[in-house]
C-alpha cells in the first residue's frame, strides 16, 4: 500500500468527516430532534391524525406498487439487456437512465400529458373505460414507478454480466427448463443485487415528491402522500407534524439501508 504522510491522512479524514457532518448527519439529526421536540406523546398524536394516517397509507401503497413493479420489470429488463443482442440495445440502455436524469417535476408533467382525461386521447379513452389515472392512486403509483425505474436495473445488470451465462447453460445441460434455471440458478446468483435494488427503490419511492405532487393533485385526505403532507404542514406553520413525518420518512429509509448492510454477507461472491 502507498504510504501517506500522517498530516495529510489526518487532514483528509477531517475534511471527509466534516463534509458528511455538515451535509448529512447534522441536518438529519436536527430533524430527529425537532420530531420529538414536543415529546413522544405529541409525536404519536401527530402520526395518528386521520389525514396523516391516510397519507402514510397512500405512501405505503405507492411504495409497495413501485417496489413490486420495478423489481419484476427490472429483473426482466436486465436479463433481456445482458443475455441478448438486438438492434437498439444501447438506445434502450440509455433510455433507462432518463428517469434518473430528468427532474421529477418534468416526469409529472409528462405523465399528465399522456394520461389526463381531458385533452389526451389515451387518458380520455381510459377515463371512458372507467379508469382514472391522474389525481388518483394509479397515477401516484405510476409516477413513483417512473422515478425509481432504473434502480433495480442498475444493480442487477453488472452482477448478471459478472456471473456470465455458463452456470445457466450448465443448468440447462443438466435438464433444467428456462424457468427452473431462473429460479434455481440465476435468481440466487443475483439475490443481493436484487435486494439492494429493492432497498434503493423503496427509499426512493418513500421520498418521491415532485412527480407525485403534479399527478396526484395534492388533495388533502384523498391523494396526498406523506411527502406532500410534510410540505403542506410546514408551509401552514404546523411544523411539529411536518418534522414528525419527516423523521418517519428518514428513519424508514435509513433502517432499510442499515438492515441490508448488516445482512449482506461480507464475502459478496456468493
Amino acid at each position: 500500500m502507498v504510504k501517506t504522510a500522517p498530516w495529510l491522512r489526518i487532514t483528509l479524514r477531517v475534511v471527509v468527516i466534516g463534509y458528511l457532518v455538515l451535509l448529512v448527519a447534522w441536518p438529519v439529526g436536527l430533524v430527529a430532534r425537532h420530531a420529538f421536540a414536543g415529546g413522544f406523546g405529541f409525536f404519536v398524536h401527530a402520526l395518528t391524525e386521520p389525514n396523516v394516517q391516510h397519507a402514510l397509507q397512500l405512501t405505503l401503497i405507492a411504495t409497495f406498487g413501485s417496489v413490486v413493479i420495478n423489481t419484476v420489470f427490472g429483473v426482466t429488463i436486465s436479463l433481456i439487456i445482458v443475455r441478448n443482442e438486438f438492434p437498439g440495445k444501447r438506445l434502450l440502455s440509455a433510455l433507462l437512465d432518463i428517469p434518473l436524469s430528468v427532474s421529477p417535476v418534468v416526469v409529472g408533467l409528462a405523465l399528465l400529458l399522456v394520461y389526463n382525461p381531458r385533452d389526451s386521447w389515451f387518458g380520455s379513452g381510459l377515463a371512458k373505460a372507467g379508469i382514472q389515472i391522474i389525481f388518483s392512486t394509479p397515477g401516484i403509483i405510476l409516477a413513483t414507478v417512473f422515478v425509481a425505474l432504473p434502480l433495480v436495473i442498475r444493480e442487477v445488470v453488472p452482477t448478471l454480466q459478472e456471473i456470465g451465462d455458463e452456470q445457466e447453460w450448465a443448468a440447462r445441460s443438466l435438464g433444467a427448463s428456462a424457468p427452473q434455471t431462473f429460479w434455481r440458478i440465476t435468481l440466487p446468483s443475483i439475490k443481493w443485487a436484487v435486494v439492494y435494488g429493492v432497498v434503493l427503490t423503496l427509499a426512493r419511492s418513500l421520498g418521491e415528491f415532485g412527480a407525485v405532487k403534479i399527478v396526484s393533485g395534492n388533495i388533502v385526505g384523498a391523494t396526498q402522500t406523506t411527502t406532500l403532507v410534510v410540505e403542506e404542514r410546514y408551509q401552514n406553520f404546523d411544523q411539529p407534524t411536518a418534522f414528525a413525518l419527516a423523521f418517519v420518512l428518514a428513519a424508514a429509509a435509513v433502517t432499510c439501508i442499515v438492515v441490508v448492510a448488516i445482512l449482506r454477507p461480507q464475502n459478496t461472491e456468493a
Partner: protein
Amino acid sequence: MSIEITNVGKKFGDFVALEDINLTIPTGQLTALLGPSGGGKTTLLRVIAGLETPDTGSVVIEGADATRLPVQKRNVGFVFQHYAAFKHLTVARNIAFGLEIRKRPVAEINAKVGELLELVHLTQFAHRLPSQLSGGQRQRLALARALAIEPTVLLLDEPFGALDAKVRKELRDWLRRLHDEMHVTTVFVTHDQEEALEVSDSIVVISQGRIEQIGTPDDLYDKPASPFVQSFLGPVTRLGSRTIRPHDIHIFATPTPDSYSGYISRTTRVGFEVRLEVVLQASLPDDEPVQVIVTRAEANALGVSAGDSVWLRAV
C-alpha cells in the same frame, strides 16, 4: 453409431466456424477434438451438446435426431472450461442438481451423490462451497455433476486448460482410468496434442472449420494426412528434402555412408532430452538448421558438443 454428424455447417456473421463436417463418433470411446484456437472444435462440441444450433446438417445421437432438440432434452453431460460450478450451492447440491430436476426420490439422490463424491474423491468436501475448492477439485466437481445424470455422451470443453501442469497431468490420467471404468462415450476438446495423444482412443484434428484427419493417436503420429497434421502433432524439421520428426534422425560422430554432414551450432538440454541444432555443409545461408533430439544418455555416449562435426541420417 453413437454420435453421427452429417454436413454440419455454422457461421458467426462472416466467420465460418464449421464447414461441411461429417463425423461418426463410436459408442464407448474417448475421442479428442484437437486443433488450434479458433479452429472450430469448441463450436462442434457445442453443436453436439445443443448449446449452438448448426446452420446446416444434422446431429444424430444414439439413433435419434437431435439437431433441433434443446440442450435440456439431449441428456448430455457438458463440462465447461471454467467449470461453471453453481456458486451458491454446496458440492453435494451441485452434483444433485440434475437429479433434483428429474425429481428422483431423495434416498436415490443421496445414494448417487455419495457414490459420485467417492468417485471424484470429494467426499470430505461435500458441504463446502465451490469457492472453497482448488481448480482441480472444481473440475472434478463439474465432472461428477455431469456424470450424475447418467448422460448418453459426456462432452468436455478444454477440461484441463485452466489448471497448472502438474494437476493437469494427474487429472488426465484420472480421466482415462475413469473412462475405462465407466465406458460412457466421451468427447473432449483440446489444443494440446500431448493431451490428445495420451488420453484418447481416437483423435479428430480440426482446423479452419474443417476436419483435417481422423484416426488413432498412432495413425496420426505416424501417418499424418497433411503437413499441417504432422506439424501440429509434434515438432518437425527438414532433412534434405524430407520433413521429419527431430527424434527420427540418427546422429553419428564419425563419417557415415548415405548421410548429411554438418556441424553442431547449438545444444540445449531440457530435462532428459538434448536438443541439437545442426548446420549442414550443403545448406544455403538462409536455411534453418536441422533440429535433432536425442536422449541425454545418447548425447553422452556420442560425446559431441557445439562446433563439432556430425553426420545425420533419417531413421
